[in-house]
Symmetry: C2
Subunit: 166 residues, 2 copies
């Protein structure tokens, strides 16, 4: 099971990036995302709405005390940061049978996160996007999402859109 | 060479997602990004500032007439959409020696884009993020960025941050 911890969410300013983090976590096979920073019920509701429509089995929550989330987690704790070690070599070190906590920051990540994580890893040592870094890591970990009870389902098309609604 | 065309940028509302698209394009080896929609000089400047600091060789521009960009492009035109065909099979069909135009939309993509593209492909038929979809496609196309004259360079660390400044 893979859990995502999104640190330092800021209401309004981070709304869309944090939403994309949640949707990527869901679509790429994580089990849950925990948001920290400012409490934003709208954000949580919007991810849950996607699950209602497109398939459930992914959980979203808010936790003010992110330190406790990291401390109490049983499994491998991985912090994604552009300052970390190149991810390709690091991923091979994980025991992927253990639970994994993937920690993603927003603008400023407290220094202690680098100490609390088992691994600080970088998807390239260049500034880009926590959304992209998360997608790449989940893609390489290759979990398939187990989504159920979808109201809507896409039938892939070469041109245009086809959605079946139950 | 890979060019990204970002459609329908909206000033303010899309600022951060569009920035992430540009930074991902740059860090994952595309040559350039063309923004369409509302003209946003702040967005262009912010990507250029990243290139100045972290390595240049990536170009950013604005083009109001996105139809012309697609029509005039010599090479394979790929539109990323959750309604498209699963990407893994589609990618193997590309001639990766040709130039590639990757088209990414924001909220609503005009229907004609689906007709103008050579391929409409989906990184999973689930709602998530154009930032993530772009990262996954560029990762699979496996171009390495050729960035030069960086003022700042990260020395990867197991804990903490180390940046060399020239």
């Amino acid at each position: 099971m893979i859990t995502i911890l999104r640190l330092g969410h800021r209401y309004k300013r981070d709304e869309r990036i944090s939403t994309h983090c949640g949707l990527v976590a869901r679509a790429f096979g994580a089990s849950s995302i925990i948001y920290s920073g400012e409490h934003d019920q709208h954000l949580i509701d919007s991810i849950n709405r996607v699950s209602e429509n497109w398939g459930s089995g992914f959980s979203v929550s808010y936790e003010k005390n992110w330190r406790k989330v990291i401390q109490d987690f049983k499994g491998t704790k991985v912090h994604l940061t552009m300052y970390g070690m190149p991810f390709e070599k690091q991923l091979s070190k994980f025991n992927t049978k253990r639970n994994i906590l993937i920690i993603i920051g927003s603008e400023k990540v407290p220094g202690e996160v680098y100490q609390m994580a088992d691994y600080n890893i970088a998807v390239y040592n260049q500034p880009h996007s926590e959304v992209a870094a998360l997608a790449i890591i989940l893609d390489r970990l290759n979990k398939k999402p187990k989504l159920k009870s979808a109201k809507k389902k896409i039938v892939p098309q070469e041109r245009g859109k086809k959605v079946i609604e139950k």
